[in-house]
């Protein structure tokens, strides 16, 4: 089941990908019915980055980053590399040399349920990573994995070509076929929130804004 590389992967149009990136993880997660969120242990190596990209997926053996080199050739402008090891591992699959290569291919960042190293350099290069660990442990190149096959990364199913959104809140995966519709709902949500934000800032309470008092009383909430 390993040793497969899928060359051609359909991607969402870049303007949709970029739109999802602008909305960010929390909004996109809500806009698609609260699905696709990776586990909270996936943390950015530095704060402030917000990206979206089309997933090039890597399924790699524990402690073996050979398939990252294979994936590199398949990266296109606007892609994000997404790696899940075939068994839990926090070795440092990726560092500054691979980031140099990834940037040269137009890659926007890395999402990895394992470790990463050279994080100071990666930050200086502006190459964001969301990972399970920062760990200098070196990897080998001995065993095949697969590229652009469906993977489960940090609890979320990722198909190649899915849109991956990542920021300080974590990582969320949008199925490619739903990307446009999710973007529409994300923008509608943002527009709706603008008015709420204005009213809440003015001191109005959510209890009134969302008309909650009656429901709470009906359920028996008691003020003492």
């Amino acid at each position: 089941m390993s040793g497969i590389v899928v060359r051609n992967v359909e991607r969402a149009p870049l303007e949709i990908v970029d739109g999802l990136g602008a909305s960010g993880v929390a909004t996109v997660h809500e806009a698609q019915g609260r699905t696709g969120l990776m586990r909270s242990f996936m943390r950015p190596i530095y704060g402030g980055a917000r990206i979206a990209g089309s997933a090039v997926t890597v399924s790699a053996p524990p402690g073996d980053n050979w398939m990252v080199h294979v994936a590199m050739e398949l990266l296109k402008e606007g892609d994000v590399l997404v790696l899940a090891p075939t068994s839990p591992c926090e070795d440092g699959y990726f560092g500054d040399l691979l980031a140099t290569s990834a940037i040269a291919r137009g890659c926007r960042g890395l999402v990895i349920e394992a470790g990463v190293r050279d994080v100071r350099d990666l930050q200086a290069m502006g190459f964001p990573v969301w990972s399970k660990a920062v760990f200098a442990q070196g990897t080998i190149k001995a065993t095949l994995g697969s590229v652009n096959v469906p993977i489960v990364c940090a609890g979320a199913l990722v198909n190649p070509g899915d849109v991956v959104v990542a920021d300080d809140d974590g990582v969320c995966v949008v199925p490619r076929a739903e990307a446009e519709e999710v973007l529409g709902r994300a923008r509608a949500r943002e527009a709706a929130e603008e008015e709420k934000r204005r009213r809440l800032a003015a001191g109005e309470l959510g209890l009134d804004l969302y008309d909650m008092r009656g429901k709470l009383e009906a359920l028996g909430l008691k003020y003492v």
Copy 2:
């Protein structure tokens, strides 16, 4: 036992609260006999914030943030919201809209044994949070909890109106009735440390400053 909201909570005078905030977590924790400290997994979403406030407590079902809206109405200038879920949970109970509302009520920050989201926005707004996780996972509004009842948050008992101090070292709870006395001891401690700091900076050893050599020798410490 849930579904209770206590409207009126006695608070410590704001100058005492502010004094404790200025002393910070490590000093306050020492000044009250090394009690009241929350578990070390409670981390700030951004560095550098140091706050103190009177606790408005929330006991909420897992994945349900309805009671946060109820608590919002009870917040006064100088308060800190403290939330513990009724079973372990790391969903994102709180984001930028709630922070907008909390700031409008004079709230100084959030302490939550669960998750928070929109952390980039919260940092931009200057609304500090100490949480167990950063997690975009949305919550619902379906079940009652309680507001301003005693809770256990991250291993520490918090009564409504207690003073909560939080900074980069973590979170510490000071019982309201002891706040003034603890502040006195914290200030005495700070004064005493000033002289020690000067002498240590000049190269004097703690072994001499604290007169430890004799005790260590008596216990049998051997230099080889």
Copy 3:
């Protein structure tokens, strides 16, 4: 087996120590055959610091920092304090007063498989720490431990006088007797990487640069 303090410890020459520090954790770890790395839970209290120093080791009882004071006297210019508790503990063994003293002794930083506090002050003082936790919990001075004996810290064996390298990637220990040779290999590695970095930045693929295509094909990698 405790209660021992070794006064005189051989150290590597400072120019070798400094050279290893300049290379950083990932490179040094590779240069010595991927050994000596501490567990990934050892994280810096603030980003951007990179140090190397000769280890002054402390074996301390849980929740008891007395031996840190004993160790302080033995610190020399260019040393790093390395502490492992005798059973798992995350109490705050070290804060701003001890850091003041350590800086006065020429100490470059602390590596501790336990907790640390006053982290805001430590950052302001420029005293870097790699720890298992940030935790304000106070410690006592009641029981003997040992100083400058071999310890296991975060999974790595540390002998007094070993060179400890630490940066944003973690902490790596170089046996003193191998320090010079490791430095040589680290520098050779850096030189070799320079050319690779240039070629990768120009768009060349690792698949070609490292001549991997044939081996991958031989192992049966299939493109579809």
Copy 4:
């Protein structure tokens, strides 16, 4: 705040304690409104034990079991020892000698948010323990703690004299003043479940037994 031993503690009548023990953790937890449950990391050292007892509480420094000896004198027939360290610790505070003493005092078991050792002997003696860890690490007797003061153990507030129920499902704390009422509700719950169990065993569905179909349809559940 430490160094306090409260000699006289009010306890619930033994027949109420025993009744709660017969009901078990899950039922008692439900009967008191889903409160009082300790964290799930509190596991029995052997399967099959089910106990209830009045809490004699111990607040102990990390790695120091001196207060267990102090508590021993205060144990009465039907008590359970409950220990929380003042900072996280998994050292082995308790082994077969202490169990010998506890059994001689009529103690029914130990609940400890730390470690325990000699577990094979404890099982042979029939002395059940619920702990955070099994760990042989020895402890010292150097620093005071307190006995029979309120403690937070594994996330639950325990007052001396509260009823502690423990079985394979974990540990639940019942406030002494509510013990009788909770027992009544527990028994009512058991009676009600008997009939449900019979009907479910006969193949009736919960959907029908609890009349859920209408509510699910109203909320929009779709069968496809």
Copy 5:
């Protein structure tokens, strides 16, 4: 995306399911190319059980077990219930009443990335469970989830009708369409192991049996 119940799910023939169960997790995992294994935190509530069954999947909100009742109606002889919460949760979704009902429907066991309770009763009833936690915490019935949709459980993708194998080694998922082929490979593997077991028991070394000495020497293994 929630609120969906799929009534009709294709299942593998029971003799294939039973064959996979007889082979057990380790063999089946190998036979399908080392895929489909759930995370190691999924542990049986009692030792010695070994089952296989067709998956009826449940996606449930955190702390809400309503959908388990919905799933109950869809269980057929030889099924296994598989539940993943929509965000991490260890509440006790399942206890002895639900097990009574499940047994009445012919269900062989439960696999749940959350908590379970009444484990003593479940063992007495012979109803095996693999779970992330044993936890008495009660759940509610307030929000819709889905039944028989694809889920990710403990890191493994599970489609309704897939074959789930579980024993003391953990849990492994076999895609329905591959079940027969995997069974064939599992049996071939068992046959091949029989001979190896005999030779190893007789003292022959794996080094010779698998002809490893030459390869090891070629790679440079040095005996000293």
Copy 6:
């Protein structure tokens, strides 16, 4: 630094090894000054086993069990295999075939800071294992490690030929050169405990038996 196999390792006499095994982990740990204990996450795969043996150590790459086959040849009657991966890993390095071989070589058990599988079979064969995880994940045979070199396993330094004691309390390592002396102290400790056990069982308190009352009073313990 890898690729080394040390053939000849000095071992402690078997009667000393067996004596330490009879004393068990908690007693041996105390007898050697509370050192050598592995982390508490090292748990037996079944209860009741108590072994001691001379360590044959294995340093293995993550997910690669080739060196276990190499080690097998070096096992002698009374040995225990001790394996630490070179980076954190919980894959199943060892199963029933390897156990068959190990038993044929006189090996008494396995201590592994990683995973193990076929645990039902291992229990049936009476081959005890202490591991970090039970996990069916298969391993490969591609990269060299080392056999009979010093390793750090679960926080403890293990030299080849050291005596490893393991039971339900965990795992403890005794340096070979100290084995005889430690055994002497262990037996003295057991003799001393016999009398204490008798007196405690008769109801005498540790407070009196160990003459603690005066010291506690001197430190300020207050009974209220």
